[in-house]
């Protein structure tokens, strides 16, 4: 049986699954097949235990507390920052800002770097495959400043047209903000190449790593990017926590994001001095538990290892692509040569929402809709797609369940 071999080449997927308690449940009387990982991933026991231990035994507010419990909480929180810094290979933990999610990371850059650096007539460059979270913050900024948002197009396979992007870069470009891996197409962008093109003209680059960071090792120094954002809940960690990596030189020059406690070093009514990095960008009591949980999640990811994760997911994607291709009337949206873990598709004559409902009755959870990438839907002339997205704990058996659930769609709709 080739299926079994596929799952066992790199690691034992059964033992990985055992670490995710949620996966054991049934939905509508059928075993849950969770294939909506691009929306959020499930959490391993190690993360759940870390969260519950923090609240049961470690909870105190951080920084400035002179008592042991507060010092321990501070150490755990700052320790988590160091773990994230190492995970992204940042030069220093001070280059890691905790945020609510990737969206907040992008908004932070737009509201600080963007508002101080972008003026009327300037330009910000994004791509056609961006998530709304990497479109709208720039639209708001451009509207406020009288700047222009330029959009690099994609081809019919959902690949960025690099030449077109290069042609958009010029003396008025203040920033390139680009997704590392598309959430609706699965395309992996040549981000190092993009960084080089932009840096040739002295333009900084932000990379949205929401999707990429749980599928592949990210090294912000090897990428040479200026900003990189991730979100914890897609990294097998808690919701409500994310991180922004920023080059210290840029972070130091940027004005603060929000005002409040913790982001200052001294306050009088006449004058406030801001705190040093990274605290300058973290006003108020942060999501301490979330940050510590994220630390546990990146430990977990590191322990499993991206070599194993990537090769398991690669084989799973190839298997799923082959199986789904056999289904009559199925068309993939997103067929880039470089892609990972996303199967976006439409079934001829059936609306994706009906597809989603039918497979749900078989216990299969997939996402249907525009995936917060309406311009991508417009580009491919579809109102929505059905999307199955894979994670380290998925199996070929689950792909078989998906395929058999999809054949039910034809039974119902003909």
């Amino acid at each position: 049986m080739s299926k079994v071999t596929i799952d066992r080449i790199d690691f034992d997927v059964r033992s990985i699954r055992k670490q995710f308690p949620l996966l054991a449940q049934s939905v509508r009387g059928k075993p849950l097949v969770y294939l909506d990982n691009a929306a959020t991933t499930q959490k391993p026991q190690a993360v759940l235990d870390t969260l519950s231990h923090y609240y049961a035994a470690g909870n105190a507010n951080i920084h400035r507390g002179v008592y042991a419990l507060s010092q321990d909480a501070t150490q755990a929180y700052e320790g988590a920052r160091s773990k994230v810094a190492k995970f992204l290979n940042a030069a220093s933990p001070t280059e890691i800002i905790f945020t609510r999610n990737a969206t907040e990371g992008i908004n932070l850059v737009a509201q600080t770097f963007g508002r101080s650096m972008v003026a009327a007539g300037d330009e910000v460059v994004i791509s056609e495959m961006e998530h709304h979270s990497n479109i709208v913050p720039w639209q708001l900024l451009c509207e406020e400043k009288g700047a222009k948002l330029r959009v690099a197009p994609i081809n019919d396979d959902g690949e960025l047209i690099l030449d077109e992007l290069a042609a958009l870069l010029g003396p008025r470009t203040r920033l390139v903000s680009i997704v590392h891996m598309s959430n609706s197409l699965g395309t992996i962008n040549p981000v190092r190449r993009i960084v080089d093109l932009a840096h040739e003209q002295g333009i900084p680059v932000l990379i949205d790593g929401s999707q990429a960071a749980y599928h592949m090792a990210v090294d912000v120094r090897a990428l040479d990017c200026d900003f990189y954002v991730v979100t914890g809940h897609k990294l097998y960690g808690p919701t409500g926590i994310g991180a922004l990596y920023g080059r210290s030189r840029l972070l130091n020059d940027m004005p603060p994001y929000q005002g409040g406690g913790d982001m200052i070093s001294s306050v009088t009514f006449e004058q406030t001095t801001y705190n040093e990095l990274p605290h300058k960008f973290e006003a108020g009591t942060p999501h301490i538990a979330g940050a510590i949980g994220l630390g546990a999640a990146v430990d977990f990811l590191t322990e499993v290892g991206f070599d194993a994760i990537a090769s398991h997911e690669r084989r799973l994607l190839d298997y799923a692509t082959g199986m789904l291709s056999e289904l009559p009337g199925l068309r993939f949206i997103g067929t880039a040569r470089e892609k990972a873990s996303i199967l976006s598709f439409v079934l001829e004559g059936v609306h994706p929402h009906d597809v989603g409902t039918v497979v749900d009755t078989e216990g299969v959870a997939i996402r249907t809709g525009h995936h917060c990438t309406q311009p991508v839907m417009d580009r491919f002339g579809v109102p929505a797609t059905a999307r199955a997205s894979l994670a380290m704990y998925n199996t070929t058996d689950e792909i078989d369940h998906l395929v058999s659930a999809l054949s039910k769609v034809r039974e119902v709709f003909g």
């Binding site: 929402h353 039918v358 009755t361 249907t368 839907m377 109102p383 929505a384 709709f413």
Partner: protein, 149 residues
């Protein structure tokens, strides 16, 4: 499969395949657009109201089977009804799909009762109700059709 057949009843599949009153009503005097941001569905309803009676109506747009069949069956059910009767029917239908229907006389709903399965799929209630909200806004807000002549 039986669970699915409760949702996708034959009447619904039929109206999805061949929607009735589909298109644009040229002599309409009311219209409204409906939009379901969740799925990106858009719906355009054109209506002719004469002395408080919906004498004719059409719908246009794309959507899932539930939203298309709901719009199609709605046009059949509402044609010839007064606005008051429509409002009452709207209320019945709303209760049917949201599961508050126990007190509703199913005879009053006629064919529309095929949507009773929707109540078990909360994510799909908006699909079933979109056309109804759109029509409600068209007939009650007296929105004039923009003339193309």
């Amino acid at each position: 499969m039986s669970e699915l057949r409760d949702l996708y009843q034959e009447v619904i599949l039929d109206h999805n395949r061949s929607p009735r009153n589909f298109g644009h009503l040229d002599d309409a005097n009311r219209r409204a657009d409906g939009h379901n941001p969740l799925c990106g569905d858009r719906l355009d309803v054109t209506v002719k109201v004469v002395e408080g009676v919906v004498t004719d109506l059409r719908f246009k747009g794309s959507g899932c089977a539930i939203s298309k069949a709901s719009a199609s069956l709605m046009t059949e059910a509402v044609k010839g009804k007064t606005i008051d009767e429509f409002n009452e029917l709207f209320d019945y239908f709303h209760r049917l799909v949201t599961g508050e229907t126990l007190s509703v006389d199913e005879r009053a709903l006629g064919k529309l009762a095929v949507f009773s399965g929707v109540r078990d799929y909360p994510a799909r209630v908006k699909c079933a109700i979109l056309a109804w909200h759109t029509l409600k806004s068209a007939v009650n807000d007296s929105q004039e059709v923009v003339s193309t002549e």
